[in-house]
Amino acid sequence: MAFILRRNLPWRRRSGAPSHQTTHLSVIAPDFSGRTVISFQHVWKRYPNGTDALRDINLSVPEGDFVFLVGPSGAGKSSLVRLLIREERPTKGKIFVNGVELGRMKRRKLPHFRRKVGLVFQDFKLLPQMTVHENVAFALRVLGESRQVIDRRVARALDTVSLHGKLGKYPRELSGGEQQRVAIARALVHAPRLMIADEPTGNLDPATAWEIMQLFLKINADGATVVMATHNREIVDLLRRRVVVIEDGQVVRDDRAGRYHEALQASALRA
């Protein structure tokens, strides 16, 4: 059902999406000639307790897209994000990111893959014993970069998130919004072409959440593809970007310029 819906979407026809979505599981890797960044092909995720977190997910994200993943709690959004950053492997099916199949990626290649993806989470994941500068620099220190390179790139990233004046502050001295900006800056130091965010505004008040969204829009406008799992209805409605609804582990709707409640209502009506 999901890919029938997607196949008929006018925007997808315009963007010349690869034809693999309508074909069967046994297809060879799709054509990634600089167009499709993410492709899920009949992906299933079953946990050891027997729960199917994801069921036959088919999804394709072209380069430069801005995709909201919405759906009720426990629908499978976070599972999808975890698969996307190869924290877990799919039980069945294939996931391609930039043409590389994640399920087949060797463990030693994983760090190199993660360096190309910017990750942002609801709980910021900042290290409390480090200052703003150190937190952002940490992403480069683990690569063994020189101090000059670190300083230059950290300054640039902190400029992007407008936090240059708070270099020496510790996370506990910052507001939630500022902490999320630091996390975004850390994700940006590798200049990723793909940003994945799991509920990045979940802990923030509406005004701050909006500021954070502006940042993501800016990052997207600069050319990065953004995939964001969110519950934030206002933001989804205001931005009118692509909305993928996940319910009960399945993609039940995929709208090019969707609204949160419309998407959920439509899927509820269908049910």
Binding site: R107, R108, L110, F113, R114, L127, A139, V142, G144, E145
Partner: protein, 298 residues
């Protein structure tokens, strides 16, 4: 340069982590120190016993074949050559009747006996030095079946004693290895648990490292270094304590523990130091390596 920065980061992280979990780290160092002291005592006792066993072995690995007075000298030399060609034999010495009598007379216990006998009643001998204790039996059989041997008392072989020596030596070696194996397992488990605590304390940092693309060994390295640090610190303490106690202990208990041949051997101290440091570092590395493989996954 990049490698150097990685190493610096790992050393720095290991040092910080060691002191951040000071309680657990110190407990681990003390436990490993005690284990290494036990290992050291085991080595010292083993060394002392090995010395005594070696001297016994040297003594019992020489057997004398008594030569009959009727055996022509040419036959004796033929048999001597045959024995020397045997790969199990280290050397053969021919002791003539006169030489043997001189030796016999030199022993004060035989003085009365010599005074009462005439002529030379002792036989000439072939003293065979056997390479391995376990081959003495075979060489003894060779001697006994040699037609030139003295029929009444062909060899001085004490089969029972040698068999017991070989057995005792094997058991002591086995016991030493078993004790060492137990000590290794216990210390590896202790280091593993220390590393588990350290991993738990640094779980946030590890999570962030994974997210920003740190390699597996970048994440694991500091823990392995921390394990090695624990082992080396414990080895220093154990060596200090053992060296401090070695000589006074030997001097104090040498008389009381007469059944254990205690002796102070200054040459063995450097061997002991090497073994303890190498052992400590290896135990630390092994424990932490197993620990990070279990608890740190990318």
């Amino acid at each position: 340069m990049r490698l150097f920065r990685h190493l610096l980061f790992a050393l720095n992280s290991a040092w910080q982590s060691f002191w951040r979990n000071a309680g657990v780290s110190v407990a681990a160092v003390i436990s490993i120190t005690l284990i290494l002291i036990l290992a050291g005592v085991n080595l010292l006792l083993g060394h002392a016993l090995a010395g005594v066993l070696d001297s016994y072995k040297t003594r019992v690995s020489v057997i004398s074949i008594s030569v009959s007075d009727q055996t022509p000298l040419a036959t004796v030399y033929d048999f001597k050559q045959q024995l020397e060609a045997d790969p199990r034999v280290a050397g053969v010495t021919f002791v003539t009747k006169d030489e043997e009598l001189q030796r016999f007379s030199a022993d004060p216990r035989n003085r009365d006996l010599i005074a009462n006998i005439e002529g030379n009643p002792v036989p000439a001998k072939l003293e065979v030095h056997v390479k391995n204790l376990s081959d003495v039996d075979a060489i003894n059989n060779l001697g006994r079946t040699w037609r030139g041997a003295d029929r009444t008392d062909p060899t001085d072989y004490q089969g029972d004693f040698i068999a017991r020596m070989v057995k005792l030596s094997a058991w002591l070696t086995l016991a030493g290895y078993a004790l060492m194996a137990i000590l290794v397992v216990v210390s590896v488990v202790i280091v593993m648990n220390t590393i588990r605590t350290a991993v738990y304390h640094r779980r946030q940092e590890i999570e962030v490292m994974k997210l920003v693309g740190a390699t597996e060994w970048f994440v694991r390295g500091p823990f392995v270094i921390e394990g090695v640090m624990t082992g080396v610190l414990a080895a220093s303490l154990a060596l200090g304590l053992l060296l401090g106690a070695y000589r006074p202990f030997v001097e104090r208990f040498r008389a009381d523990l007469f059944f254990i041949p205690l002796s102070y051997d200054p040459r063995f101290v450097s061997t002991l130091g090497q073994d303890l440091f190498l052992g400590g570092a290896l135990l630390g590395a092994m424990g932490s390596y197993i620990g990070v493989r279990r608890f740190v996954r990318i």
